[in-house]
Assembly symmetry: C2
């Protein structure tokens, strides 16, 4: 089965060989049995041709930090926050993460699966062909396993590829408010072994921050995860410098995420250990704040940056990687090439998938976006108008799922 | 010809009678010969019914500040700015507004018309059913008249309604750099009379700012415009307090726009004179800055706020009013109801059209958005994912123009 993309204005992709963004004009792209088999001129006959209407072609986006397994949106709480309510007031009204936890625990499997599936459709329509997806709105053994089961189920059934992460350490459930260490015991002694037996999750994530999971608690959880075969990754130093970046380095985590308050020592430790910094500028934006992560400092220290949406119902209800690229350019002061690389190849690295996806390279899986614009620069220049004409996943056109 | 919208979850609209946002559930909306003729239950038979799939219905957005008559995007300059180039460097490379001026002057009428038409299609697809649109990238009598002629031509030919503004005082063309007052003479003595004879423009706009058109020059231009029948409006106090808000009050301008640097005195003068403040948070965002206009102070002083995109190729390449509403909530600290009103009814007031459009009120033109979401709060909550199912302009479905 040969599919050929013709009449391409520009193919833009990070090129691992030259370690730079390549932008070539007037080439064709040949896909054979779901893989990229040639990029060049006069590539011969194919079963199907797609006319790219003299427009841009890029790899599909890889989003390495999402929380899509929740029951309902929290737009009421959003409206309360916009109108000036405090977190305390919202929590007292039954809002905040606890409402999401109640929702997932109560939700019927099929209905929750359908809600998540609708969100996967939207990711694909926005050009995202692979996501990392976390559990973490159940916080009981049963509901965390249910969340991961839904991700595995949809990974089979849906075009998008999902890399599942167990995040029972997302928050302390209300029933453990008085004895948080008892919840850490539950995580390490019951939940992680059960997740390992279930065999779905690839990563173990912890919200490591003063006032949430301490460095000591996070270390214990990530070590238990490691022993069960789950690769560590962290929510690190989002609100204040809590030493989480250093823990990420110590644990050889694949990625430390957020990092708005990371210290110089934390950055140095990450650089030395080769931890990827996954930045989530959508969250800063969605919270109406301006304390964006120090992207240029991270880059200057030689740390690889990946970009992700952090899609979740509370602090970042954004699914668009093109918009995250705009934010990276405008707020993180990354160049367009840096942001584009961070949203494709580096984000594939942040989930250990760069050998298979993240660039338009012969031999890789054919995850491709066909745009309605002419060149790479127009992606952030268009900000919120996402002119995508077609999305191809593993060689199959999949755009406009409803 | 009767068109009925059925199976509506929520109709959200500013209600002029109660001076508040009304949100009613489970009503139908009847359109007869392009006008709203009833909102309620059991509205009887119609020629056509549209099933709103238990979703939200709102008025179409009114965008009261746009600059759509330009030749090409300036994404190369955007990329240079993101990479750290200064305005001086960009100008030296042939970028900035002067490249747009060269483009419009040289452009073939039909090709320029087509470029503008494509942008109008995008406005409509994003739910904007009426725009104010400025000339101002020609800055010669001939090219300003050409720009206005294209707007009049497309207003006839295109579903979107256009309120045209003459803005020859957008910048000083290079040929008058050494003698700016001579360009003011040209504006007042040749261009404004020619624009008046042409009979297309309804408004006259000036970029009143220290280093651009001074208060004295702006007053002279707006007075010449007034005498020729053009209603004054201003770009005011965008970079620094230049006394432009006071001039807007003195001239009884319908609207003063931008206002990031407006003074207390300027606000008091606007309040007293009833000048509308049209805020453009997309520009602050697109420039990567944080000096958003003082929306709450303006509201506290009793000034009516309208929201607009400022769509233009240099400082704000954003066409989405839903995203502007998000920015208003997150950055201007407006409530959802305030931002929604500012993007519909108040923005209709900012172009003198509130008797005809800007709310879903019996007797008004049927400019309607049918959404893929359930309620008003989800518009800003979705940020960049604009789930619009259908747009109705003067009673005609017009969504998905290419």
């Amino acid at each position: 089965m040969r599919l050929k993309l013709v009449n391409i204005k520009e193919i833009a992709t990070y090129d691992p060989d030259s370690d730079s963004v390549s932008r070539v004009e007037k080439q064709e792209l040949l896909i054979t049995d779901g893989k990229i088999t040639a990029i060049g001129s006069n590539l011969g006959q194919a079963n199907t041709e797609i006319d790219c209407q003299n427009c841009l072609v890029t790899p599909g986006f890889v989003d390495p930090h999402t929380h899509p397994v929740f029951w309902q949106g929290r737009e009421i709480e959003f409206a309360r926050r916009i109108a000036g309510a405090t977190y305390q007031e919202i929590a007292a009204e039954g809002g905040g993460i606890r409402s999401s936890i109640a929702g997932v625990r109560k939700a019927d499997y099929q209905e929750l699966r359908q809600a998540v599936k609708n969100r996967l459709n939207r990711f694909l329509n926005l050009g995202t062909t692979t996501i990392e997806a976390k559990s973490g709105y159940g916080l009981s053994t049963e509901s965390e396993l249910k969340s991961l089961e839904i991700l595995a189920d949809l990974n089979e059934d849906h075009s998008i590829d999902i890399m599942p992460t167990f995040m029972g350490a997302h928050a302390f459930p209300a029933e453990y408010a008085d004895d948080p260490d008892q919840y850490v015991d539950l995580l390490c002694e019951e939940m992680i072994p059960a997740v390992a037996r279930q065999g779905i999750a690839r990563y173990c994530d912890v919200f490591c921050e003063n006032g949430y999971f301490s460095v000591a608690q996070s270390r214990r959880i990530l070590e238990a995860g490691s022993q069960a075969g789950l690769i560590p990754r962290l929510h690190a130093d989002e609100f204040e410098d809590s030493g989480a970046a250093e823990l990420a380095a110590e644990m050889k985590a694949v990625s430390a995420d957020h990092l708005m308050a990371v210290s110089g020592e934390g950055m140095n430790a990450m650089a030395k250990a080769g931890v990827i910094a996954t930045l989530l500028p959508g969250t800063t934006f969605f919270l109406g704040q301006h304390n964006y992560a120090p992207a240029r400092e991270l880059i200057d220290r030689g740390i690889t940056i990946a970009l992700a949406t952090d899609f979740n119902p509370g602090s970042c209800h954004i699914q668009s990687m093109p918009f995250i690229i705009s934010l990276a350019c405008l707020q993180l002061k990354m160049t367009i090439e840096e942001a584009f690389t961070a949203a494709t190849y580096n984000s594939a690295r942040a989930i250990g998938m760069e050998a298979k996806i993240g660039s338009l390279t012969v031999g890789k899986q054919a995850d491709v976006i066909i745009w309605g614009i002419k060149n790479l620069m127009e992606i952030p220049y268009n900000v919120t108008d996402i002119p995508i004409r077609n999305v191809i996943k593993s060689g199959q056109p999949v755009f406009r799922l409803d």
